[in-house]
């Protein structure tokens, strides 16, 4: 067990966990931020995607010791009272079906839009290539990102 401080969704926190704990487990079990999902546990499906100091990562592959002092953004940190433009776009374009890949897809879309304002379809496809969805066939998700505008 080790005490570590990190910033999650704008809040400074201290957690006491094994340094090799997966960031995913710390988020879900220690901080009760269950919006971030586990789909495979081997970095293949992207359901556990979060932003770590502005970079998209699979939280199932990140040990806690790597996030000491860093900033993490999860799906719970996106909306305030109202949904963000990207969440609204997912709603309108049918980007969420069963919803289990949605938090990860939103984070991957967020990372894309933050990086570049005008995205081609191919850039979106490549940017979401690490996130699996079994329901939508992807085009509604690609459209959600494309139609979102310049702010996520």
């Amino acid at each position: 067990m080790k005490k570590m401080s990190l910033t999650v969704n704008g809040k400074k926190l201290t957690v006491s966990c094994h340094p090799f704990s997966r960031l995913l487990d710390v988020l879900r079990e220690e901080l009760q931020l269950t919006g971030t999902k586990e789909g495979c546990g081997e970095g293949e499906c992207g359901a556990c995607s979060v932003m770590l100091d502005g970079k998209l990562v699979n939280s199932c592959l990140v040990p806690l010791l790597q996030v000491e002092g860093k900033k993490i953004l999860t799906v719970e940190g996106l909306a305030n009272k109202s949904l963000t433009p990207l969440q609204n776009s997912f709603m309108k374009c049918g980007g969420a079906q069963c919803g289990i890949c949605t938090p990860g897809m939103l984070m991957a879309g967020y990372a894309l839009i933050k990086k570049k304002k005008k995205l081609s379809k191919q850039e979106i496809r490549e940017g979401l290539g690490g996130n699996l969805c079994r329901c939508t066939g992807y085009s509604p998700i690609i459209k959600s990102v494309q139609n979102c505008g310049t702010k996520p």
Binding site: L33, T34, G35, K37, V75, A96, G99, R125, L132, R134
Partner: protein, 740 residues
């Protein structure tokens, strides 16, 4: 304002987008323990002894074996052959033998490694050929779960009179549902309160039915609640009965809540998959290329236990002749036992297998007869007033030709078919375009809906809102939204006035399982009728006139509840009188109605690497009235993507009856970079017995992609392809064989 036909926004969308929706692994109860399943390492044998090796303090663990089962050790479904836990006989790899629970989930894996099973192995059966040989017999008297026979006309004489006979054999592989949320449940079980399950599932009442005999408890002592469910596709139709029973058994002994969540590898290796199949088709044509006789032999691999194989086989059998007419038909089909984990429900439920075979065969025949594949199909299409393979007279108007025309026009089929032949000549990348035409019967097969006799209800709240009460689950396909649209229209109120109640067997009637493309069409109709029943109660109580505003409706509801009491409307399914199925003769109106479709795939195959990509896809279908275009399109695109995986990428590699590639990194499902633009077009022919005029559409998009894609590859490569998944390795092997 009417809601049916509009793209109303997903009812539970907000909570899913905020990450607030509670899936089963997001729920934690106080005092909860974690459970795991310890499984058989071998395919077939006799369990002699369980040894607990030193290394953990076993007193801290709850252990459950077959001997701890308070009731009956079988998973109640159709037959009683599948045990919850192995008593003595082991029939497949990964069969559950022992359950373990501990409050610290991290110690469980260590404990698993310290369990030693002493097993005397028996000779197993792994292939259909071995199962047919009956050496050894592993199930029943002949390794056969079920067989069907359809005979009409005189196939043998027609074969004698035929101008030409053509024959082919077609094979399809297993396919993993690969919902992104693995199976999981939480159970609280004890003698005083009975059993309560919360879980990821499609069919709460299936789980309910299975737990009654397992615990020998009266039905009211069992309660099953669906948590938000992260995809199902059939994979959470029957399997949740197994994992729920396991968690409940652990909880019963622990006297504490127990959670079991499978990790991805366990979910892939141990739970159901689409049935592999083999189909031999023999066809006879007259001089004018009319199909005069059809002889189909259809076999599916059911795995080690009967589960749903008889019903999967039935749907496959009844779809086996495709959308074609022949006055002489002979179909033989069987579901066989092998020592692999049981195969089960997966979107399409037997139809994608047999439709792949007939659509590949018709393409093969067109080529052998040197005919245009479209003209040849059209010549043999079923028409209004003719009889389908299953013996069903087509009484409804059908728009099959218009569906096909639309697909040809939108894809520019004929032009591309010619153009690609030219451009392929000097290129290592060969482009092709292919078509598949098919139908999908909506609702339960045969008398299934009559036996289910589903009930749906609606109830007014004291605030004047309307609650929909059904056991049909939202698993991403849009149940909550479409039910709300249909109820809003039936009651002439707003979409926002409707709430869909969480499926909970303690509170909702049994409206049947969420399967078979039945939710919108069958249960949607019941929701409409229940809504009308409620409205009629208000009118009879003279609280509402025939014509009313939304405000008047809401205040009438409030008044009724205040002055009279509970305000509820309900409706029970009754088959329309014109739908008649003869179970004894196995023929008749197999389905209330059919959705009809024509899919076109455009592909590129690199003849250096043998990789194939789908460049563009067109999906045209007639599905009755489209209730919600956005959701309907989402169903089609998502289904086509699964179909692309089925055709090209998704290969289950079997080793000694066990899935060897049980990871997302070596079982390859399509990503954003593999799924092309999919154009969706709907033709509408409202079906008067379906909710809002709808026909079922959820499974339809799994039927068409694999034959359309392989037909496109054949066009590009000028070879005959007869099996899926057509991976680069298999294509290379086949092309090298030809080049020899």
């Amino acid at each position: 304002m009417t809601w049916v036909g509009k793209s109303a926004l997903r009812k539970e969308g907000d909570s899913k987008l905020r990450g607030q929706a509670k899936y089963i692994d997001d729920i934690s109860l106080s005092g909860m323990m974690h459970g795991i399943t310890v499984r058989s390492p071998i395919a077939r044998g006799l369990l002699k002894k369980i040894e607990y090796l030193p290394g953990v303090n076993w007193d801290e663990f709850i252990t459950v074996t077959a001997k701890d089962i308070p009731g009956n050790n079988y998973v109640a479904l159709i037959k009683k052959d599948q045990p919850y836990l192995v008593d003595e006989k082991i029939n497949h790899p990964e069969e559950p033998i022992l359950l373990l629970a501990h409050s610290n989930k991290h110690i469980l894996e260590k404990a698993r490694s310290l369990i030693k099973f002493h097993i005397e192995s028996l000779p197993p059966v792994f292939t259909l050929e071995e199962a047919i040989k009956q050496d050894p017999i592993i199930w029943g008297t002949n390794n056969t779960f079920k067989s069907y026979a359809i005979d009409r006309g005189d196939v043998e004489s027609a074969f004698k009179d035929a101008h030409i006979l053509l024959e082919g054999t077609y094979e399809t592989g297993a396919q993993e549902q690969l919902y992104i949320e693995p199976n999981g449940v939480i159970a609280i079980a004890n003698e005083k309160e009975g059993v309560t399950i919360w879980g990821s599932m499609q069919c709460p009442y299936y789980v309910h039915k299975a737990l009654v005999p397992l615990f020998n408890l009266p039905p009211e002592k069992i309660r099953v609640v669906q948590a938000e469910t992260g995809g199902g596709f059939g994979g959470k139709e029957e399997y949740p009965s197994v994992i729920s029973g396991h968690a409940a058994l652990l909880s019963w002994k622990a006297k504490r809540p127990v959670k079991i969540i499978y990790d991805r590898m366990e979910d892939m290796v141990a739970t159901t998959k689409r049935h592999p199949s083999k189909t031999r088709i023999k066809t006879a044509f007259d001089k004018n290329h009319k199909l005069i006789a059809l002889d189909i032999d259809f076999t599916i691999d059911g795995g080690a236990y009967a589960t749903l194989s008889s019903v999967v086989l039935s749907r496959g059998t009844l779809h086996a002749s495709g959308p074609y007419f022949s006055s002489n038909i002979k179909i033989r089909s069987r579901a066989l036992a092998t020592n692999t984990p049981p195969h089960g429900a997966f979107r399409g439920f037997g139809a994608p297998q047999s439709l792949f075979a007939i659509e590949k065969h018709m393409e093969f025949c067109a080529r052998e007869l040197k005919l245009d594949p479209v003209k040849f199909r059209k010549l043999n299409f079923i028409k209004h007033g003719e009889i389908l393979g299953c013996g069903q007279l087509v009484k409804e108007k059908i728009k099959l030709n218009s569906v096909v025309e639309k697909a040809l026009i939108e894809s520019d089929f004929h032009k591309k078919r010619k153009a690609f032949v030219k451009t392929n000549k000097n290129s290592p990348i060969k482009k092709g375009i292919g078509l598949a035409v098919f139908m999908h019967g909506a609702g339960f097969t045969g008398s299934g809906e009559t036996f289910l006799a589903s009930i749906a209800a609606v109830k007014a709240t004291p605030e004047g809102k309307i609650e929909i009460l059904t056991s049909n689950t939202e698993i991403g396909q849009g149940t909550n939204t479409i039910f709300s649209q249909m109820a809003a229209d039936a009651l002439n109120i707003d979409f926002s006035d409707i709430e869909v109640v969480q499926p909970d067997t303690a509170h909702v009637p049994n409206s049947g399982p969420t399967v078979a493309s039945r939710t919108c069409m069958i249960v949607g109709k019941l929701v409409e009728q229940a809504s009308k029943d409620l409205k009629q109660k208000l009118i009879s109580a003279q609280l509402l006139k025939e014509k009313y505003t939304r405000k008047e409706f809401i205040s009438a509801c409030k008044k009724y509840i205040k002055e009279i009491g509970e305000l509820k409307g309900s409706s029970q399914y009754k088959a329309p009188s014109h739908i008649v199925w003869d179970e004894q003769k196995y023929q008749g109106d197999a389905y209330g109605t059919y959705a009809w479709a024509a899919y076109v795939a455009e592909t590129s195959t690199d003849t250096r690497t043998f990789e194939t990509t789908v460049d563009k896809f067109w999906a045209v279908q007639e599905v009755g009235k489209v209730i919600n275009p956005l959701l309907a399109k989402g169903q089609i695109i998502g289904g086509v993507a699964q179909g692309i995986g089925y055709a090209l990428y998704e290969e289950v590699i079997w080793k000694e009856g066990r899935m060897a590639n049980n990871k997302m990194s070596n079982y390859i499902m399509p990503t954003t970079l593999d799924v092309p633009e999919i154009e969706v077009h709907f033709l509408e022919l409202p079906y008067s017995y379906g909710g809002g005029g709808s026909k079922g559409l959820g499974e339809l998009p799994l039927d068409g992609p694999s034959p359309a894609i392989l037909n496109a590859m054949e066009h590009a490569l000028k070879i005959t392809l007869r099996q899926i998944p057509m991976t680069p390795e298999k294509l290379m092997a086949q092309m090298e064989e030809i080049n020899k």
